[in-house]
Point group: C2
Chain length 356, copies 2
């Protein structure tokens, strides 16, 4: 295992935020996770330390032997500080559960942060691939190939009738969780978001906040994902999700046009004030930041701020989080100091963005 | 009488806001008003239309004959629109009572707006002189000379025991009302303003908002003036007022230093956000504007905004008022449209201020 690879993440931008992609004014990123287990070992929740060591060793060996990834890191999670684990969580490389678990867990992640495998989360393997924009098809190709190749070395628990076996019955079958993160400020401002969420839920899809299950939709960011993993093929699940996503994107576009035509000053005021706060405040909470960034992003999408780079705004969604802030500061800082440091960082980023 | 001289006011800046003066970081302006009545006519409240015409004619004749002012306007108030009267009120050239009275009243004002005489307000004459900064002595010289010269032509009502006679007993004696407008954001932010107001009141001085009696202290602007007009000479009244003003100015300076040293981020945040709102909002109320301008002015005084011209900020206090806004717009506009127009005007003024 290498010396703290989390520090290396700070040398470059978050690819799923800094890159472009189809519909990336509204669709921030597309992600697919697959749950897999090894048939010759008990599920992690039921496993001894030896069992967990075995599953970790087996996955690491397979990844190394198969040379699936060009450049990647193997991370022993028990050796990471809480702060480093938080950074991985904020970059969406690990789940909340994995962040909390820590013992006998390991993470494999590629240098470009597109692929990752959590070992011994709820299942032995939780693979993920993530790309910017609406690119579920591409993401599926990447993760499907990863899965295919790993299956040549790892004996995945599979039942002919049920499909892939998982710790939690909700994942049984395909073990797939495909999700797209959407930025929906238009629907929120038009107060149509609840109607959209209800409609999406009725279609058997889940709507969550930026950091997954149980988190609020801060910054008007919503993750839409499939709920059921049984009864359809992976491609059917992805296609159905994508068709709903495209409808939501159209609704969002309509809302923005409606606001621009019917409530222009209201919209400009909302966006302008958010920019004013981000560009000129000296104390700003995480929540106010995310909501202001949302408005600024909307403004950039609508061409209001030619001087502000959209990728700078995108990345700020992640870099203003507590873990990232403390890594930038090089030390742990308490919440009230963080609000000051956050404001400083945002002012500087936006200022340097303007100069370009 | 000339064609609408109110329009001419818009060709130049408000002198008591645009000029510099001693202590002008805190003392915006110094003003003295003198109440005088003609002994051969009943007080305005008791006068017939003919009486009022006579007093108007007498004052106009005296001013013209004595050539007191180089360049001045004579304004028949009954011929002015409500909007034009409001502009005069916002520029502090007339009182609220005079604004409302309108019939059989006239205004004499100099081209530089330093001197004005309201004819047939509560008294036959209400003269005023106003200068930027803390300059009560200079203002007194100007108005004392005006009074002396007018008295050579006009028979002022005077009693050897009581002094000058006035409509309201509170003005009897010297008939003087000297006031200094102070900008006290430091004392407000430190929550010491109420203690200061109470102390000032105990010294027999009055504290009022920007537009005189009964108005709130919007924008952290406070007018401090003498209450009593009897028992002291004009110079004693002015000296006593000035010495209290100097103490308040010192308190304000101390508060600002305290904030800067003990609560730096709080202060910078307060100021930065205010600038952000003024520079980037598209809808802004009069109240939010005045409070934000107050914070911005504090920031400029403290050297935080080298690019923003203090006189631009000063003038905005007046030009964002409803009357001025509607004159700029060239038409009457309702309050919600005004909030939009106000924001536009402020954004443009601050933007052009930055370019200089």
């Amino acid at each position: 295992m290498q010396d703290n690879p989390v520090n290396k993440l700070f040398e470059k931008r978050v690819s799923w935020l800094a890159d472009s992609g189809p519909e990336d004014d509204i669709a921030i990123s597309s992600r697919i996770r697959l749950a897999r287990n090894l048939c010759d070992l008990p599920f992690p929740s039921n496993a001894s330390t030896e069992h967990l060591d075995s599953s970790t060793a087996a996955v690491l060996l397979a990844v190394e032997k198969l040379k699936i990834f060009k450049k990647f890191y193997e991370i022993d999670m028990s050796k990471l500080s809480a702060l480093d684990r938080q950074v991985l969580l904020e970059r969406r490389l690990i789940s909340r559960e994995f962040y909390a678990k820590k013992q006998n867990t390991a993470l494999i992640m590629t240098d470009d942060e597109i692929c990752a495998i959590m070992i011994n989360e709820e299942d032995h393997l939780r693979m993920q691939a993530i790309l910017s924009g609406l690119r579920l098809g591409e993401v599926w190709k990447i993760i499907d190939r990863m899965d295919d190749r790993l299956s040549t070395e790892l004996p995945f628990a599979f039942d002919v009738n049920l499909g892939y076996l998982t710790s939690c019955p909700t994942n049984v079958g395909t073990g797939i969780r495909a999700s797209v993160m959407l930025h929906l400020p238009g629907l929120v401002l038009c107060e149509q978001i609840n109607a959209v969420i209800q409609a999406v839920n009725k279609l058997g899809l889940a709507v969550r906040g930026i950091f997954g299950e149980g988190t609020e939709s801060l910054g008007n960011l919503f993750q839409i994902s499939n709920q059921s993993t049984l009864g359809e093929t992976e491609v059917q699940i992805i296609d159905r999700l994508e068709s709903v996503i495209r409808q939501i994107i159209n609704h969002e576009k309509n809302s923005r046009q409606k606001l621009l035509h019917n409530r222009r000053e209201f919209l400009m005021n909302h966006i302008g004030r958010a920019f004013g706060i981000l560009r000129h405040s000296y104390i700003v909470s995480s929540e106010e930041t995310l909501n202001s960034l949302s408005a600024l992003r909307l403004g950039v999408d609508m061409g209001m701020f030619s001087s502000v780079d959209i990728h700078t705004v995108n990345e700020l969604f992640v870099t203003v989080q507590p873990g990232h802030l403390q890594k930038y500061a090089g030390k742990e800082i308490d919440p009230s100091e963080r609000d000051i440091f956050r404001a400083t960082l945002i002012r500087e980023r936006l200022k340097s963005s303007e100069k370009k």
